[in-house]
């Protein structure tokens, strides 16, 4: 496949949310000596931005957005690995570690936030559901994360968000990271009570919050 075709295919796949092939395509691109930075900035980013624009106009919906974010992510992982190996650092909107806290298996809100953040250029590590404090903290350290985002859908699992914050304090890491919390029963009062840096009502607000936290 010629380089131009690969570019075109990557762009199309991100736009259409066909995520199954994008990792493979990215590998092919590298075999063809395509500049990964160029592939990201000239093709992947414009495609995901167009998806975001159509989402805003209610032409595309969450399933489209999440599929496109997956397509973007699969290609990005390959390109970023290559970029890192060359000793260059790609500028990301911010590094986020996200997950639903221990005892809680609610997946979806957290995954929507992760996708929207990816679509906005954040580098997102999604730890899934039922995540232990220790797992959050180890990943934060490993990734050098700038934001920790924790979800809880049950009143009885909400206090665990506070526990993770306490554990971060105990490890002397609290000042090194911004913390945002969410989930249907979570409120601003709860966020303040447990010492989080921010709370958002829904996924769109969560992205705005992450952008604000990166600037603060």
């Amino acid at each position: 496949m010629a380089s131009d075709d690969i570019y075109k295919q990557l762009y199309e796949n991100v736009l259409n949310g066909d995520f199954e092939q994008t990792g493979e395509l990215a590998n092919k691109a590298l075999e063809n000596n395509i500049d990964p930075m160029d592939a990201i900035n000239s093709y992947l980013v414009p495609a995901i931005e167009l998806v975001g624009e159509r989402f805003g106009k209610k032409e595309y919906f969450l399933p489209d957005l999440m599929r496109s974010a997956n397509a973007m992510k699969n290609a990005l992982e390959v390109f970023e690995k290559d970029i890192r190996e060359k000793g260059v650092e790609r500028k990301s909107s911010g590094k986020v570690v996200i997950g639903t806290v221990k005892g809680d298996i609610h997946e979806i809100g957290k995954s929507i936030v992760a996708s929207l953040l990816t679509a906005k250029g954040f580098t997102v590590t999604d730890l899934g559901v039922d995540v232990e404090s220790e797992v959050f903290i180890n990943k934060i350290v490993e990734e050098g994360a700038e934001i920790l985002a924790m979800s809880a859908l049950l009143p009885i699992t909400m206090p665990y968000q506070g526990k993770v914050i306490e554990d971060l304090k105990a490890r002397g890491l609290r000042d090194k990271i911004k913390i945002m919390v969410g989930g249907s029963p979570v409120t601003q009062e709860h966020a303040e009570r447990i010492g989080a840096d921010g709370y958002a009502d829904d996924a769109v607000e969560a992205v705005k919050l992450a952008e604000r936290l990166m600037k603060s």
Binding site: P63, I105, E107, P155, I156, P185, E189
Partner: protein
């Protein structure tokens, strides 16, 4: 005031063939994919009843035989007890009742403020709702922000149970201990724990997770409630397109497998445990990711689920909150479409049908009163059209004959109107000039006046001040104990 159960079931979206197809798809899911149950004792109960259990992955597979056996012992008729017989709810698969709002975090108060809910709001809302004619089962409408979340169900009990004449729809956040402590709280009024177990004045709800998962706490509550003869709403809260397949049919299958697995468990623990097939499902709004209780797709789902539950001769709880933020035109149309379609479909409990706004996040005092009005109109329609010699009125028509005349002066008219016509309480049917003369009030203003009037009257004949205090003091101690247990872990 007393409770009258009207029959629904006029509205059928599914054919017999559709229902069979949903049943067979459900059997396939239950017997081949199974349900994940995180509570080990639940796995053991299934295993000893002959179900295939994969302990490693906590999966229970239920075959047709086991399902049929369990469903045979699940009652289709039972009574949910109020504080006296007038408020008993006689449940079957035809009569339609309502359940109040639940678990809102915010309040829209009479001054128009939107603020976090307080314990005082819970009591006020309960007193208000208890005075509304069309409210049949009481829920704790808010989770107060001035209390710690963990184990708060004991305090919800204290803020609701003593203030209502209706059967109380309870919940236990922490597991079996919550159920046992709530039995103790009810015993203050009912005389003994044994009396509570015999004729419980409260129920428990367990909320299953889609797709196909039963969390530990919920299985624990389900088992403990069944052991103690406390009726259970076995509820699934699916989000169409999110946690269940996007088509209504696919969501019906997921809900069905999930709820039936819970009902089977309750029947295995204690055959005959009253179970209500329940959903609080809603559409996932595909632009915000939020929960829409008032979407037309949600209404279709709830009406169709009523048919699925009735296919198994189980009473059904449907209905949910609306999406509007204030008591406005959106609130009115959302609530009316939802309540009317559910009533006509024969939803036996129209749940969360008072005051719940903003995707279940907010409770509005005024909307409670407006919803009571909407419910009254919907129930009037449930009465249907009676056709008999008397109502056909041929004799009367002959008497009046084809001439310039009217029916107003006839005794038949006077009697019929007094007996059958619906009298709106806060709906205005005046011309503009009269409406203006009476203050040109919007429905919201009129509802606010009604709320103030009700809250200024105090009327709780079913419980003494001492009993209320005893329940409240005990609940505080139980809540404290739960919090200490949490901290110790």
């Amino acid at each position: 005031m007393s409770i009258r159960g009207l029959k629904g079931g006029f509205l059928n979206f599914l054919s017999e063939d559709d229902l069979d197809a949903i049943h067979f798809a459900t059997l396939e899911i239950l017997s081949e994919i199974g349900i994940k149950m995180e509570h080990e004792p639940a796995l053991e109960i299934f295993s000893s009843s002959g179900a295939k259990v994969d302990y490693k992955n906590s999966i229970v597979k239920i075959d047709e035989q086991l399902l049929n056996k369990a469903l045979l012992s699940a009652p289709s008729r039972f009574t949910l007890h109020g504080k006296n017989e007038d408020f008993d709810v006689k449940v079957d698969t035809e009569r339609v009742y309502t359940i109040g709002g639940s678990s809102a975090l915010n309040v829209l108060d009479l001054d128009g403020n939107y603020r976090p809910a307080l314990f005082d709001d819970l009591i006020k809302f309960t007193i208000l709702l208890d005075r509304l004619q069309h409210l049949h089962i009481m829920h704790a409408i808010v989770i107060p922000s001035d209390l710690e979340e963990y184990g708060v169900d004991r305090m919800l009990f204290a803020g609701t149970f003593p203030y209502t004449s209706r059967n109380y729809y309870s919940q236990s956040q922490t597991g079996a201990d919550g159920v046992l402590e709530q039995i103790k709280l009810a015993a203050v009024l009912q005389g003994s724990e044994e009396a509570v177990r015999k004729n419980p004045m409260f129920t428990e709800v367990v909320c299953m997770v889609s797709p196909l998962q039963h969390e530990k706490v919920n299985s624990e509550v389900l088992i403990e409630a069944a052991k103690n003869n406390i009726p259970v709403y076995v509820e699934v809260d699916a989000m169409l397109g999110g946690t269940t397949p996007a088509p209504v049919a696919g969501t019906l299958v997921e809900q069905n497998a999930n709820v039936l697995a819970g009902i089977v468990l309750a029947q295995l623990v204690n055959p005959g445990t009253p179970c209500i097939y329940s959903i609080a499902s809603g559409l996932m709004d595909m632009s915000t990711g939020g929960y829409s209780g008032a979407a037309p797709e949600t209404n279709l789902l709830h009406c169709a689920t009523a048919q699925v539950a009735h296919y198994y001769n189980l009473p059904f709880q449907g209905g949910t909150g609306i999406d509007a933020k204030i008591p406005d035109a959106q609130a009115g149309y959302e609530r009316a479409m939802q309540v009317l379609s559910n009533a006509l479909a024969g939803t036996n409990f129209i749940h969360l049908s008072f005051g719940m706004m903003e995707m279940m996040l907010t409770a509005s005092y005024e909307q409670c009163v407006i919803d009571n009005e909407i419910m009254g109109a919907a129930f009037k329609m449930l009465e249907g059209v009676a056709v008999n010699d008397e109502t056909l009125s041929v004799d009367l028509l002959r008497k009046v004959g084809p001439k310039s005349a009217h029916f107003l002066t006839f005794k038949e008219t006077s009697e019929y109107v007094r007996k059958h016509y619906w009298v709106p309480k806060i709906t205005d049917r005046n011309v503009h000039s009269s409406w203006k003369a009476m203050g040109a009030k919007s429905m919201r203003d009129v509802a606010a006046d009604e709320v103030r009037k009700i809250l200024s009257e105090n009327n709780m004949p079913f419980i003494s001040a001492e009993q209320t205090k005893e329940i409240t003091d005990m609940a505080k101690a139980f809540h404290k104990k739960a919090l200490e247990k949490l901290k110790a872990n």
